[in-house]
C-alpha cells in the first residue's frame, strides 16, 4: 500500500509538471489571441491611412508614422473633448466617493429600521435599463435648461456610480472595527472628524478600488453622452469617437489613434493600481 501511494505521488508530480507547462503555453496563447484587436488598433494608428484598406492586410506598417497622433493632439477641437471627459469623470468619481462614504457609514455602523429596504433599493438601481432613464432625463433636462451641458452628465452618471460606491465602501467599513472611531469620539472628536480622520484613511484600498471603477464607468459611458449633449464643446470621448465615424468613415488611422489615446489613461491607471481594482471588482459585484 505504502509503495503504491509513493509511486502514485511521483506520477502525480510528473503530471503536475506537464500540466504546468501546458498552463503556461495555453495562457500565452490566450494572451496573444486576446491582444490581437488591441495590437491591430496600435498598428493601424501608426500607419498612413492609405495603407489601411490594402488587401491583404499586414500586421507591420510599411511606413511608420505618428502623423495621426500629431493631428489629434494639435487640434483644439479634440483637446476640448479630452478635457471634458477628464473633468466629468473626476468630478463624478469624487462626488460618488464623498456621498458614498457618508451613506456607507450609515449603513455599516447603525442598526436602523428600513436598512434592508435601502440596501435592496441600492442593489436594484444597478438593474435599471439606462435607455428607460434616458427618456425622462431628456425631457426633464430640456425643461430645466440643463440639456446640452456637462452638468447634466455629472448628475446622471451618479445613477450608476453612487450605488456601486456605497455598496463597496459599506462592505469594507463593516470589516473595520468601530473601536477606533469610538475612542476618538470619546476624546472629543466629532463624528464627522472620526469618519474623515480615522475611518476613511484606513479604508484607502476600498476608496481607490471603488474610485477607479466609478472613473472607468464614467469615462466609458456613451448612451447618456449621446442623448443629453449636442454641442461639440460639451462632448466627451465616446461620443466624439462615434461622431468621427459618422463624419469621416475613411480616416481609420486617425480613429484608431484617437481610440488609443482615449483608452490609455485607463490602462495606465489600471497597471499602476491593479491590486485595488481587482479587489474592487470582486467586492463590488458580490456586495456581500
Amino acid at each position: 500500500m505504502r509503495q503504491r501511494s509513493l509511486a502514485g505521488g511521483l506520477g502525480m508530480d510528473q503530471r503536475r509538471l506537464l500540466l504546468n507547462a501546458m498552463s503556461y503555453g495555453l495562457l500565452i496563447l490566450a494572451i496573444v489571441i486576446v491582444s490581437l484587436p488591441i495590437l491591430w488598433m496600435l498598428t493601424v494608428s501608426v500607419r498612413p491611412n492609405l495603407e489601411v484598406m490594402k488587401i491583404p492586410p499586414s500586421w507591420i506598417p510599411a511606413h511608420f508614422t505618428l502623423a495621426s497622433y500629431g493631428k489629434i493632439l494639435t487640434n483644439p477641437r479634440y483637446i476640448v473633448v479630452f478635457l471634458n471627459t477628464i473633468f466629468i469623470s473626476l468630478f463624478v468619481t469624487f462626488l460618488s466617493l464623498f456621498l458614498g462614504a457618508l451613506a456607507a457609514y450609515a449603513l455599516a455602523r447603525f442598526n436602523f429600521m428600513g436598512q434592508r429596504v435601502v440596501l435592496m433599493f441600492l442593489i436594484i438601481t444597478q438593474m435599471f435599463p439606462l435607455i428607460l432613464l434616458c427618456i425622462p432625463y431628456f425631457r426633464v433636462f430640456v425643461m430645466l435648461g440643463l440639456y446640452d451641458t456637462r452638468t447634466s452628465l455629472i448628475i446622471v452618471y451618479l445613477t450608476f456610480t453612487l450605488p456601486f460606491c456605497i455598496l463597496m465602501l459599506r462592505s469594507y467599513f463593516m470589516n473595520i472595527s468601530p473601536a477606533m472611531e469610538e475612542a476618538a469620539m470619546v476624546d472629543g472628536c466629532t463624528r464627522m472628524g472620526a469618519i474623515f480622520r480615522i475611518l476613511v484613511p484606513v479604508s484607502y484600498p476600498a476608496f481607490i478600488g471603488a474610485g477607479l471603477y466609478a472613473f472607468l464607468l464614467a469615462w466609458n459611458e456613451f448612451l447618456f453622452a449621446m442623448v443629453l449633449v449636442e454641442a461639440w464643446e460639451n462632448r466627451v470621448l465616446t461620443m466624439a469617437i462615434y461622431s468621427l465615424m459618422a463624419e469621416f468613415v475613411t480616416d481609420w488611422s486617425g480613429m484608431m489613434a484617437f481610440s488609443m489615446l482615449a483608452s490609455l489613461p485607463l490602462v495606465v491607471a489600471f497597471i499602476l493600481l491593479q491590486k485595488f481594482m481587482v479587489q474592487g471588482m470582486t467586492a463590488g459585484a458580490l456586495t456581500s
Binding site: P37, I55, A103, R116, P129, I131, C134, P136, Y137, L286
Partner: protein, 296 residues
C-alpha cells in the same frame, strides 16, 4: 416614556448621513421610472401629450419589430453570457495553476485590458477588423479557411451581423468573469484538493466534485449580473451596426432609442421600455434573493 429623539436615535443618525444619496437616487431613478410608466399610457412627442390608454401596449404586442428585437436581445444575452462563463472559467483555472506569481499577475493584467476599453472603442476596433478589407478576412484567408476572392462583410450580412456583435461583446467582457472566478478559486480551501488527491481522485473528478460546487455561489451571481448588464446593453449594437442590416441585429435598447429619439414617439418608446424593465426586474428578483441573503 422615552422621547421620539431617543427612541429613533439610530434612525435619525443614519438618516443624517444617508439623505444626500437617497435624495439623489430617488430623484434620478424612482421619479423617472414613474414618469416612464405614466408616459407609456400617452401618445406623446416633445410638444403634446394625449391620453392613449393601452394603445401603446396593444401596438407593441402586434409589432413584429419589437418581438424580433426581443428575441435577438435574448440570443445576444444568452450567447454572450455563455461564452463569458466558459472562457472566463477556463482562463481562471489556468491562472490558478501553480505558476510563477509574477507571470500570473502579468497574464491577468494583460487579459483584463479589453474590459477597460469603452464599448464604443472596442466596437470601433471590431468594425475595422470585420470590414470586407479587414484583418479578420485577411487571417481567415491566410489560414486557407476562405479563398482570396471572397470577402465577407461580417457586419453587412444579416446572417452574421448579430453574431459578430456578440463576438465583440464576448471579447470585451470575459475578463470580468475571469477575475471573479479567479478570486472564487483562490478562496477554495487547499485541504479539499489535498484530501481528494490522497483518495486518488482524478483532476477531472476534482473539477466536477470540488471546484464547481465551491464556485456555484460566485457563478450564479455573476451569471445573473451579466445577464442583466448584457440584456440592457446599448453601445455594442448601436456602434457596430445601428441594429442593421434590415434590423438583423436590432436589440431592445436600440429600438427604444430609435422610437424615442429619432421618431420622437416617446409614448411608444416608454411602453417598450416598461416591458423591458419588467423582464429585467424578474431576473433581478433572483439576484436580489441571493444578495440579500448574503448581505443581510
Amino acid at each position: 416614556m422615552i422621547s421620539f429623539r431617543q427612541r429613533y436615535r439610530q434612525e435619525l443618525l443614519a438618516l443624517s448621513f444617508l439623505w444626500p444619496s437617497l435624495v439623489i437616487l430617488v430623484a434620478l431613478l424612482v421619479y423617472p421610472l414613474a414618469e416612464v410608466i405614466r408616459l407609456s399610457f400617452y401618445d406623446s412627442n416633445l410638444m403634446t401629450e394625449t391620453w392613449a390608454g393601452l394603445a401603446n401596449y396593444r401596438r407593441l404586442s402586434g409589432d413584429p419589430l419589437f418581438w424580433q428585437a426581443f428575441w435577438q436581445t435574448v440570443l445576444f444575452t444568452f450567447f454572450s453570457v455563455a461564452f463569458h462563463l466558459v472562457i472566463g472559467l477556463a482562463l481562471a483555472l489556468l491562472l490558478n495553476m501553480r505558476i510563477n506569481s509574477l507571470f500570473q499577475s502579468l497574464a491577468r493584467g494583460m487579459l483584463i485590458v479589453p474590459w477597460l476599453l469603452a464599448p464604443t472603442v472596442a466596437g470601433m476596433i471590431w468594425v475595422l477588423m470585420l470590414a470586407p478589407f479587414g484583418v479578420i478576412n485577411g487571417m481567415l484567408n491566410g489560414l486557407g479557411l476562405i479563398d482570396a476572392s471572397t470577402t465577407i462583410s461580417w457586419l453587412g450580412d444579416p446572417s452574421t451581423a448579430l453574431g459578430s456583435v456578440t463576438a465583440m461583446n464576448v471579447w470585451r467582457a470575459f475578463p470580468f468573469f475571469m477575475v471573479m472566478l479567479l478570486a472564487g478559486l483562490q478562496a477554495v480551501p487547499r485541504e479539499l484538493y489535498e484530501a481528494a488527491e490522497i483518495d486518488g481522485a482524478s483532476l477531472y473528478r476534482q473539477f466536477w466534485h470540488i471546484t464547481l460546487p465551491q464556485l456555484r455561489g460566485v457563478i450564479t451571481t455573476i451569471v445573473l449580473l451579466d445577464s442583466i448588464w448584457t440584456f440592457r446593453a446599448f453601445d455594442p449594437v448601436f456602434v457596430m451596426t445601428g441594429g442593421g442590416p434590415a434590423h438583423a441585429s436590432e436589440v431592445l435598447p436600440t429600438v427604444i432609442y430609435f422610437d424615442g429619439f429619432q421618431k420622437l414617439d416617446f409614448g411608444y418608446a416608454s411602453a417598450q421600455a416598461v416591458v423591458m424593465f419588467v423582464v429585467l426586474f424578474v431576473v433581478s428578483a433572483f439576484y436580489m434573493r441571493r444578495s440579500m441573503s448574503t448581505a443581510g
